[in-house]
Amino acid sequence: MSEYSVELKGIGQIYKNLLKEDTIALQDINLQIKAGEFISIIGPSGCGKSTLLRIVGNLDKAASGTIDYRDGANQQMGFVFQDSVLLPWKNVRQNADFPLVIQNKRTPENEKKLDDLLELAGLTEFKDALPRELSGGMKQRVSIVRALSYDAPLMLMDEPFGALDALTRDHLNEELLKIWSKTQKTIIFVTHSIEEAVFLSDRVVVMSARPGRIKEIVSIDMPRPRGNDTRNAPAFTEYSKYLRGLIG
């Protein structure tokens, strides 16, 4: 048990290689994430940010270190991948409902909550549509609603908007903040976009490559709710400039 939503202690990851030297993907990562916090991880490609997220999500095992979850080892998590991974034979409603089916949680109350989430994400009209009928942005909304459907307190997002055009991305960022403030989730968000990280986060974790480690953690002190005014504010530019300098 931990007072934090997640606490990483000395996480390290090494990829063994028979012919070359071992690759140190992550080295001594220590991070405390408070409940309800929105935290972004940025860094150059190959810095291990996705690897770190996969370790937090129990998809990979770390070579060293421990992770404490607020709810213990059986922590429920939602994961949003870069690709929406919707099941192509299920419509929007069924895809979003899928975790409830798998976890045997299809109570009338949860179904009602799911419909509210679909409404919040602007998907109500598209409930019966199949994934192939949706745009990339729409698919990713469904994917986010799916990750929220079973009410896991911790959300992990691995460059969810990385494949979308800039306008759609800006729009979805605002939608995500709206959903986040309504649902009170803890969100760990991996991205390679500095502006996206500044716009969304309470704190931005900057990582450096080879070996992947935390270079600095920057708190973003900008008022919420954030919108277009946030992007136009001088502080936004300052933060972006500072982070760009850190990544180099």
Binding site: L59, M77, V85, L87, P88, W89, I102, R132
Partner: protein, 261 residues
């Protein structure tokens, strides 16, 4: 409106079919009328039609048709089931794949006709040897299709199921099976055609039952119009069983791009 267009499209398809078959039959008929070959070499299409009508009118074809259909269905179902199971096992347990795949390829490349005498020695001239031959022909394409289907599932689907803490059975029944269906069905379509061929070949070789037996009987008595009529029945059986699989595919895969006309 939409329904109307669909109907017109279907009718146009049937018309094209009829025209093509009609032209073929006409050329055949003209050739026989002009050249007048002996009937044991090439009878006129009208003679074949008469034989066909006689086969059905006298009722003698039904037990044979039933025997072959029964063998095909039984062999296909067992073969497909084993194919799906093996495909799943081979795709999940790599060392089983590496150990047993050579045997399967070996079995597949051996000419099937050469195996029939062996099957007759082992399993007798009855139903079993025929069904075993059909199984051996259906198994491989189905297993290959299943493996292709499973191997082409995006990696993040597995990750999603892991995050959701799904059981192995849930992963198989709710995700893997559906994802494999498109590739599996192309295997099943090859399999059902192979099953009919297998049944006919096995019946040639042994026994006194089935459409294959009608063919050998007609051939050995130089009754060529009956032989051709028997071939027509065989083709009809092949088309019918193939269409059953086809309709099933359209039903189950209406979400897939291959089914968007």
């Amino acid at each position: 409106m939409k329904k109307n267009r669909k109907l017109r499209k279907a009718l146009a398809g049937i018309a094209e079919y009829a025209l093509s078959i009609g032209t073929f039959l006409l050329i055949w008929w003209i050739y026989v009328a002009i050249k007048m070959p002996p009937t044991y070499i090439l009878p006129a299409p009208t003679d074949v039609w008469k034989s066909l009508v006689k086969l059905f009118a006298s009722g003698e074809v039904y037990p044979h048709l039933w025997t072959t259909t029964y063998e095909v269905i039984l062999g296909f179902l067992i073969g497909a089931l084993i194919g799906v199971a093996l495909g799943y096992l081979f795709s999940k347990v790599r060392f089983l794949h590496d150990m047993f795949m050579p045997y399967l390829i070996f079995m597949q490349t051996a000419p099937k006709i050469a195996l029939v005498p062996l099957f007759i020695v082992w399993f007798g001239i009855g139903l079993v040897s025929k069904v075993v031959l059909i199984i051996s022909m259906v198994l491989f394409p189905v297993q290959a299709g299943m493996m292709l289907g499973l191997d082409s599932i995006p990696a993040d689907v597995g990750n999603l199921m892991k995050v959701l803490k799904a059981t192995k059975w849930q992963i198989f029944s709710r995700v893997e099976m559906q994802y494999s269906l498109p590739a599996l069905f192309s295997g099943l379509k090859v399999g059902i055609v192979q099953a009919v061929i297998g049944a006919i070949v096995a019946e040639w070789m042994s026994g006194k039952q089935g459409l294959g037996y009608i063919l050998t009987y007609a051939s050995s008595t130089y009754n060529t119009s009956m032989l051709l009529a028997g071939i027509v029945v065989t083709i009809l059986l092949g088309i019918f069983t193939y269409e059953v699989i086809n309709v099933l595919e359209q039903r189950l895969l209406n979400w897939h791009t291959s089914q968007q006309a």
